[in-house]
Amino acid sequence: MRSEEEVDLAIERYSDMVRRICLVHLKNNADTEDIFQTVFLKYLLYEKEFANEEHEKAWFVTVTVNSCKDYLKSFFKKRTVPLEMIADFSDLSDQHQEVLSAVLSLPPKYKDAIYLHYYEGYTALEISSLLNKKENTIYSLLKRGRDLLKEMLGGELE
C-alpha cells in the first residue's frame, strides 16, 4: 500500500487529467466522483514501482479510461443511463463550452483519441499502446474525429 505522501502527490499531479478523462466518458458529477476515487484507490493499492513519471502518467490514463469503460458497460448503467445534463461547466466561456460540447458529443470511440492527442500530446503510436489498439486504427479515429469536430464547429476551425 502506498504512503499518504505518495498518494497526495499523485492527486496533485494527476487529478486534473483524471477529471478530464472522466468528463470525456461520463455525464454527471456523481459518476465522475465515483471513478475519480476508484482510480486513486487503485493507485493506493498498486504495489509495483513505476520506471518514471511518464510511466506513471500512462498508468493513470489507461486505468482511468478502462475504469470509465467498465463503469459504462455495467449492467446497471446500460439499463438506466438517461440523457443527463452534462456536468456543470457554466464557468467556462461560451466558446469553450461549445468546443467541449462538440468533443463530448463525439461517438465514444473517437473521444479518447482526440483528447489524448490534442490535449495530452500523445502520438498515435503512444495512444495505440495506451488504448491497446492498432496504430492505424488510432490514425483513422483521429481523422474521423477531427472531421466530425470540423463539421460541428463549422468555420471556427482552421
Binding site: 476515487q37 467541449l100 490534442y118 476551425l157
Partner: protein
C-alpha cells in the same frame, strides 16, 4: 485558431475541484486506516495461529517423547509384573501377567513414577510381602532401546539391594523378545526364562510356563545344566 489550440484551451479550463481532491484524500485515508487495522488484526491472527501451531507441535512432540515406550523391566517373583518406561525412566504402563501380579498392582499405583521409586514401591508393598518367603528371589529382566540405558537400569537395581531385602537376579534381554513375550501373554522375564529352559527341555510349552513361577523355571534350567555338566564329566571320565 486551429483545432489543437481550441481543445487545449478548452480543457485547460477543466480542473478538478479542490473539494473533490479533499474528499478523495479523506476517502483514501479511511481505506488506509481500515487496511492498517486489518493488517494489524491479520498480523495478530497470524501470530496466534503460529503460537497455537507451535504449542500443538511441541505438545505432540512432548507427548510422543513422554508416552513412547523405550525400556521394559519385568519383575517376577511369583507375582509377574512388567513396567514400561519412557526415555526419562518414568513408568508409562504397569501390567500384571498373572493373578498374583494383579493383586500387587491393585495395591500400588505406579504410573508416572520414576523407575527406581516404582521398584521401591513394589518391594515395600504389603501385598508383595505376602508372596515373599525365605526362598524368594526377585528376577528382573531388562530390555531397552539403548544398551547404555540397559546398563543404567541394572545399576539402579543394584543400588536398590538394601530396599529389596531379598536376593535378586537381573538379566538383559532383547527388545524383539518383548513383542514375542506379549504375544504369548507372558512377562519378558518369564518368556526369557522359558527360552532358556527350552534349550534343555524341548517338551516345555508356553502353557506350562503360565503355571510356573520364574524361580521354578530357573531351578529346572539349573537342574538340566547340572545334569548336562555331570553327564559331560561322566562321559569325560569314561574316556580317561
Amino acid at each position: 485558431m486551429n483545432l489543437s489550440n481550441k481543445i487545449q484551451e478548452t480543457f485547460d479550463d477543466v480542473k478538478c475541484k479542490p473539494e473533490l481532491k479533499l474528499k478523495t484524500k479523506d476517502y483514501l485515508n479511511e481505506i488506509r486506516l481500515k487496511k492498517n487495522g486489518q493488517n494489524r488484526f491479520n498480523h495478530r491472527k497470524n501470530l496466534i495461529v503460529a503460537f497455537v501451531s507451535l504449542i500443538f507441535v511441541v505438545g505432540i512432540g512432548s507427548y510422543s517423547f513422554l508416552m513412547a515406550p523405550f525400556s521394559y523391566v519385568s519383575v517376577d517373583v511369583n507375582p509377574s509384573l512388567e513396567l514400561v518406561l519412557n526415555r526419562l525412566d518414568w513408568v508409562i504402563e504397569a501390567k500384571a501377567y498373572n493373578e498374583d501380579g494383579e493383586v500387587i498392582l491393585s495395591d500400588v499405583s505406579l504410573k508416572g513414577m520414576n523407575y527406581k521409586d516404582a521398584i521401591t514401591c513394589i518391594a515395600k508393598s504389603e501385598k508383595m510381602k505376602e508372596y515373599l518367603d525365605q526362598d524368594s528371589v526377585y528376577n528382573f529382566t531388562i530390555a531397552s532401546g539403548s544398551s547404555h540405558k540397559e546398563a543404567e537400569l541394572c545399576l539402579t537395581i543394584e543400588s536398590l539391594s538394601s530396599v529389596l531385602d531379598y536376593p535378586y537376579n537381573s538379566i538383559h534381554s532383547d527388545l524383539h523378545c518383548v513383542e514375542e513375550a506379549h504375544k504369548e501373554d507372558l512377562s519378558l522375564g518369564k518368556y526369557t526364562a522359558y527360552q532358556e529352559l527350552l534349550q534343555y527341555d524341548s517338551t516345555i510349552t508356553i502353557e506350562d510356563c503360565h503355571h510356573m513361577s520364574v524361580e521354578e523355571m530357573h531351578h529346572q534350567t539349573e537342574t538340566h545344566k547340572s545334569n548336562c555338566q555331570g553327564g559331560m564329566k561322566h562321559h569325560g571320565g569314561n574316556h580317561n
